[in-house]
């Protein structure tokens, strides 16, 4: 049984032809079996319209005609309003769930131009498996739409040729969250039919939102749909080139990675004080962005720089080019050379950190070791015994300091609904912070916007923001849609990590006031600066958005 939107089936509407000039939706008028459905429609109703009831509106079917008339009237009024029709026709639509595949193709073409295709939002098609397709066109003029608040309207279409009346209201936002939660609960109870209906409703409601809420809802709805229809993407399919691209945009747009690097570097610098030969083992080599700053600080320390050895560990890259890890090493060596720091580098390919053995690393007697891990350890929790093995390997390296940066959230609970709720809050906060820092200079300071010389280059553009969102979207997908070994985004809170490290034989090293100062200064430089907070918690530093901590840096040494 496929339920169409009730208004559409009603014979009264097919005659109406108040065509607004700016229709961005075309409902297919040629649906088969319409009259039959109309009978079905009448039969099944026991007073209250079912679909609207799910949305939270109690409308009697007998009143539907009235409601439809009112919507039509409203449509006419809004259609005559020049501003609004302008907004509706000017909006550019693109499809958040397709961005991943678009980006993959972009990498191979090496074409950096962003294409924003206009998508025909015909959401009549119930056969669309994933509601992400074509249902939520996030518009660039979303903020303007907020102003047009018409209370109490239903965001649906009343006529073949009318455009969507999109209304942003608080109630829809709350309903959206409730719908998502109800859907997650249905998934947990294995009630897939209900889940299916709910996830579609969530999709429709998401359209009425603006900004961060819309995007988060879209990603979560898509992830839920993937879970329902079992279209889980395997993590191995993520091409490292795409991951690197997304991560580097994430690095630029918001302070989380910079915070991680600067605070970890400060701890390592302090641990290396007075030592002449130092060796850093980096579990999260990626592009090596963390190390130039450390090398510079070592070059300038009193007493001169030590001999600096770096071992970078990363996954295999499938490029036809040369070994990516080696490339990164070369570039770092160039930097080290110019600032006169003796530098030695070794890159290790390891699909999983548990494959690492201390004997591979050529640990030397007279060297002081630091181990660094940024957002890597949580992936080990997918396989039992993995994290314990890695921690014992770290112990065998006898590090002077072990710096760990992880997401501050519990996304590894055994109950799906709890995980879902937690991650919904976490990523909503994260997306909120992206909204403000994305416009690099917009929200942060009052008064006019000044053109600065020295490059005069545009701040983090919408493209950067979008890339960061895709980066986070992949994490969301993994937390919600995957299970078992595939689910690698198993974030844990600092307290949980503390217990783990305590029982493994590590004790906490307090990050000093220098780290705190650097962190605060860094945040003050970001456009959304006032929203970010650094907090110190038992010697560890946490970066959060408003009152919610999002990532935590901690340092450890052997007991």
């Amino acid at each position: 049984m496929k339920r169409e939107y009730p208004n559409q089936n009603h014979p009264l509407f097919n005659t109406s032809s108040s065509a607004s000039p700016s229709s961005s939706v075309n409902l297919r008028p040629d649906l088969p079996g319409k009259s039959k459905m109309f009978d079905e429609f009448n039969e099944q109703d026991a007073g209250v319209d079912e679909l609207l009831a799910v949305l939270g509106y109690k409308v009697k079917s007998s009143d539907m005609i009235d409601v439809a008339h009112k919507i039509e009237h409203l449509e006419g009024v809004i259609g005559n309003d020049d501003d609004l029709s302008q907004i509706v026709s000017d909006s550019v639509h693109y499809n958040p769930s397709d961005l991943s595949s678009w980006l993959e193709s972009m990498i191979t073409e090496i074409n950096p131009i962003v294409q924003q295709p206009v998508v025909d939002t015909s959401f009549v098609n119930d056969l669309q498996a994933i509601p992400g397709n074509a249902i939520y066109p996030p518009t660039t003029t979303a903020t303007k739409k907020q102003k047009t608040s018409v209370s109490g309207s239903v965001s649906s279409s009343s006529n073949n040729q009318n455009s969507i009346v999109i209304v942003d209201s608080q109630e829809n936002g709350i309903r959206l969250v409730h719908t998502l939660m109800a859907c997650a609960e249905a998934v947990q109870n294995n009630d897939l039919k209900l889940a299916e209906t709910l996830v579609k409703q969530a999709g429709i409601l998401a359209v009425s939102q603006a900004g961060a809420m819309r995007k988060v809802a879209a990603y979560f709805a898509e992830a839920l749909a993937r879970r329902i229809y079992r279209l889980n993407p395997k993590p191995e399919q993520n091409s490292p080139a795409l991951q690197n691209l997304l991560e580097s945009h994430f690095y630029e747009t918001c302070p989380y990675l910079k915070f991680a690097h600067f605070t970890a570097n400060q701890a390592i610098l302090e641990a290396f004080a007075g030592k002449n030969k130092v060796h850093v083992i980096d579990f999260s080599m990626k592009q090596g962005m963390q190390w130039p700053a450390l090398m510079q600080a070592l070059a300038l320390r009193s007493g001169g720089p030590p001999t600096f050895r770096l071992t970078g560990i990363g996954p295999r890259t499938f490029d036809h080019e040369t070994d990516h890890l080696q490339e990164v090493g070369w570039k770092l060596a160039q930097v080290a050379d110019t600032i006169h720091v003796k530098f030695e580098y070794r890159g290790f390919v390891a699909e999983s950190l548990s494959d690492l053995e201390p004997s591979m690393l050529d640990l030397r007697e007279d060297e002081v070791v630091a181990v660094n891990s940024v957002f890597e350890l949580h992936q080990l929790l997918a396989r039992s015994g993995c994290i314990e093995k890695v921690l014992s390997t770290v112990k065998e390296m006898k590090p002077e300091i072990f710096t760990v940066v992880e997401q501050e959230a519990n996304h590894n609970g055994s109950v799906f609904l709890d995980r879902f709720t937690e991650s919904l809050h976490y990523y909503s906060t994260l997306f909120d912070s992206l909204e403000s820092s994305g416009s690099g200079g917009g929200a942060g300071h009052g008064g006019g916007v000044v053109v600065e010389g020295g490059g005069g280059i545009a701040p983090a553009s919408d493209q950067d923001k979008v890339m960061s969102e895709v980066y986070l979207g992949k994490q969301i997908c993994n937390v919600v849609a995957c299970e078992g070994l595939d689910r690698v985004e198993r974030h844990q809170t600092l307290t949980q990590w503390k217990n783990l490290f305590d029982s493994a034989g590590f004790e906490s090293v307090h990050l000093g006031s220098n780290a705190y100062k650097q962190a605060s200064m860094l945040l003050a430089l970001f456009a959304g600066g006032d929203g970010y907070r650094v907090e110190e918690h038992e010697g560890c530093l946490m970066l959060g958005w408003h009152s919610r901590p999002l990532i935590a840096t901690s340092a450890w040494k052997l007991r």
Partner: protein, 158 residues
Amino acid sequence: MSHSICDTILKTNKHNNFPINDHMDLLIEILQRLDGRSLSTAACVCKKWWSIVKNDSLWEHLCFRQLSMPPSVGIRSVVMALGGYRRLYLVCVRPVVSRLKRRRRVSYGESSEVEMWLSLFSVECYERLLGGGGGGGGVVAGESTAKSLRFLCEGVNV
């Protein structure tokens, strides 16, 4: 533009019996008191002025002039290696200082601020290396700001 203005200045100077271009030390004293923007403008006046302003020591002076203590030894060689003081000023010092001033935050301490400039500068230098595909002279080339420092740029009000 520069020739005629230069001529005018020289003519005026001759008239006043004080050609500034004959007194380099005085010129440098004056230039040392200018802010970044004026210094850049001064570079456009004539070839002689350009060659003076191009010299990094003026920019070094500009970077550290607000600080109470002189920068520690060794900073100079690192900064020169990473791209020079003029670049440091344009890319790190000016944006950081103006942002922090605007935030009206409590002072973080001079050494912390200098550390921040240098950290950001080293990341920027590295990014240029990465982005340039290892092309020769990657450390000094190009005027475009590396992506990692874009967050320091102000928006353009179109």
